[in-house]
């Protein structure tokens, strides 16, 4: 039994690590197609990671251990988050740890390390990026928690496994509260993953950057790990969304037989979400920085509305 759980867990971790750059490549390719460009191909993120991993990293003399350790910490945090989400199967070794509040904590830890490392060197851009990242983070986190609490209220537990189990069991039922939560979740996903309209992942203008400003001083394998973790984070966010709002196809049984089908369904969900994300990014311009609080305030409001609808009317 334990061996089965271990196998499932290992496959999921490898899947998350290996597929994340492909998802990033797919989104870029969709964006390219949507703006009449041919694009660099699906495998471009892998080539970039490979290039960065081979390069010798340059680290500033003033850098402390924190600066060097942060890429590993962030990468590990994202892998842990990816490992405990029941996006393929609810029977995982780490399933017991898959708590909604704990999950938000894992993301926060990664963010705090990234912000501290950016300020470690004392450069203007690092501090600026850290400041802006914390601004976005402290507004996005409550909204994320509120989103997670709606399904938690429906299933009576903050454990993701119980939530997915409960929601999938009900079959196709449209909960109005979950529609509000889903809308809020899309907005939080955009903000947390530094996507348009909150941040522009393609910008080369250091003064407008939020997430990119944190990474300006990283190079070589450190930069590769940071980029890779960003890709994993996006996959994990979409995975959480798929588990909460489209839980169908996630295997519950003890055997390994259902796994290929579950993986195929997840790939389809990721591809669809990636296309949707590319469409949103193509259609929107970047928000003025001080409009970001309004954007995330709206997300929070929608999430609270979802919670209220569930709480007051039981829908």
């Amino acid at each position: 039994m334990i061996a089965h759980l271990l196998v499932r867990q290992t496959i999921q971790i490898l899947f998350v690590i290996a597929m994340a750059p492909l998802l990033a490549g797919w989104i870029r390719q969709c964006r390219a197609w949507l703006s009449n460009r041919s694009g660099a191909g699906l495998l471009q993120p892998y080539r970039e990671l490979f290039k960065l991993l081979r390069k010798q990293p340059v680290v500033a003399e003033e850098a402390s251990m924190l600066f060097v350790a942060t890429p590993y910490v962030v990468f590990a945090a994202m892998v842990v988050a990816g490992a405990m989400i029941p996006m393929i199967t609810t029977r995982l070794l780490l399933a017991g740890a898959a708590d909604a509040v704990a999950l938000a904590g894992v993301f926060t830890m990664a963010r705090i390390f990234a912000a501290l490392a950016a300020m470690d060197l004392g450069t203007a851009f690092g501090s600026m990026g850290a400041r802006r990242t914390m601004l976005v983070g402290f507004l996005a986190e409550p909204a994320l928690l509120m989103v997670l609490f709606t399904p938690a209220l429906i299933s009576g537990s903050t454990s993701l496994v119980v939530i997915v189990h409960d929601l999938a069991r009900h079959g196709v039922i449209l909960y109005p509260s979950m529609v509000f939560a889903a809308a809020a979740y899309v907005m939080v996903t955009l903000a947390e993953n530094a996507r348009l309209p909150v941040d522009n992942p393609d910008t080369h203008l250091e003064l407008t950057m939020i997430h990119e400003a944190l990474n300006l001083e990283y190079s070589g394998r450190y930069l590769a790990l940071i980029e890779w973790s960003a890709a994993i984070k996006l996959l994990v966010y979409i995975g959480i969304g798929a588990a909460l709002f489209l839980p169908w196809g996630i295997t519950q049984g003890p055997g390994l037989a259902g796994l290929p089908m579950a993986y195929a369904l997840l790939v389809a969900k990721l591809a669809a979400a990636g296309t949707g994300l590319a469409a949103i990014e193509t259609l929107s311009a970047k928000l003025r920085l001080f409009r970001v609080p309004e954007f995330l305030g709206t997300a929070f409001l929608l999430a609270v509305l979802g919670l209220l609808v569930r709480y007051l009317f039981g829908h």
Binding site: R31, S35, P197, L207, E281, L289
Partner: protein, 523 residues
Amino acid sequence: MSFVHPNDGFPMTRGPAVGWARLPGPLPVDHAWVDDASWRALCEQWHAQDGRLITLWGSDERPAGLGFVVHAVFTYADAWHWISLATPGDRPRFSALSDLFPEAARLERALFDLLGISCDARDKRPWLRHEAWGPADFPLRRDFTQAAPVPKEADPYPFVRVQGAGVHEIAVGPVHAGTIEPGHFRFSVVGDEILRLEERLGYTHKGIAKRLEGMGLTDAGRLVGRVCADSTAAYAGAYALAVEAVSACAVPPRGVWLRALLWERERIANHLGDLGALCQDGGLAFGHTQFGLLKERYLQTQARLFGHRYLMDTIVPGGVACDIDSAAISDMERECTALLEATRRLRHIIDDHAGLQERFLGAGRLDRTRARALGAVGLAARASGIHSDLRLLWPSPPYDSLKARICLQEQGDVAARVAVRFDEIEESARLIRVILAEIPQGPVRAPCAPPKGTLGLGAVEGWRGPIVVAITRTPECARHHVHIHDPSWQNWPLLEHAVLLDLVPDFPLINKSFNLAYSGHDQ
């Protein structure tokens, strides 16, 4: 759109009695030698009566026994006025203009860096000099012989400090995260709000004026056309006009019309590129791709018809080095139709895009009063409601018969500068169609005789604003000096004012909406 002369209602007097001489060329340029007293009196009078400073520079005329000479060009009333002040002696000084014309401040600092001519302005910091030469070396003096930069210790360059709770500085550049030209921007901010911006430029100073002194006037056009590649046609055109003025060369009508065609094409190509870049900085990658496509097609047409994507070396003293046949005319006609259709559709998309308009509207606002006080010129001035366009104010052939229309906006924000660019694409396309329909037949180039005159001035409304080239010759000792002025000298300081109280992350967008020259400014 009506045209109001800026001097309506002012008494037209010329001030102190000095001997004005009209220079040859299509522009009405009057030149006079002045002394200290009349230098100051004329500047004060022109300042009081809404004259505009076009450029300020110096030349080393010691071989001719005049010492160092300070030159300034103004437009005032119905003529361009070029005044020259000889400052004999080893420690040349003149009376500063920057208290009257703030746009002169950096020109005065550059004048000291290059020639050691000092003035009574307060700001004594270097402007073009970094570490390539020392504080006691003056590269534009004729006896300066250092061939290559000798790295010197960097002098301290004190930026103005802003004091207060929570105020800190952000230093950006000259090396940026992207592949862009070098400029240093020192922001004083509270949080993300800009309290003050101070620019530092001069990183791309290449000593072009010094190099031009050693070249023959008729051969130097290629170099002048490479000072600032995005305005190569305007630079080469202004230089050709100045050379033609000193060599009394008459350009055949077809050559004159072809030049206007090239200038308008250059304007359209740059506006297309800028609109794409503005969309990209606003986060709308779609607009960037579409305008990039339009610009690329446009440049390919230029490579096919004129032999160079950016029109380099097409305008030469005496005329133009290219000609168009009937196939090229119908080619460009079709191109105009397709381009206008595409840009109009894109304009609808951009105007209706709430997110992008949110970024554009109100960002980087420069009101008319401030723009006027700072001496704004060209596109940036027109976006703030100022009538500034050589093609209308001083129409030389063929613009006198083309009747160009001015494209004005009042708001002075990023949206206004976007709108002026769209309007100017329309207007330039209209002008191109008129040129294609009415271009006279005949030769395109006349031989240019060796220069005989001593002074020549040429000016062209480039896409940023007026590009001015002034040539001073000393025939007795076969020497000349070429001064090239980019409108960015006037417009870089505007940016410092336009960004006040905007947000730091909006700066790249505001900067792009001006899109000023580094190379053209630093030279």
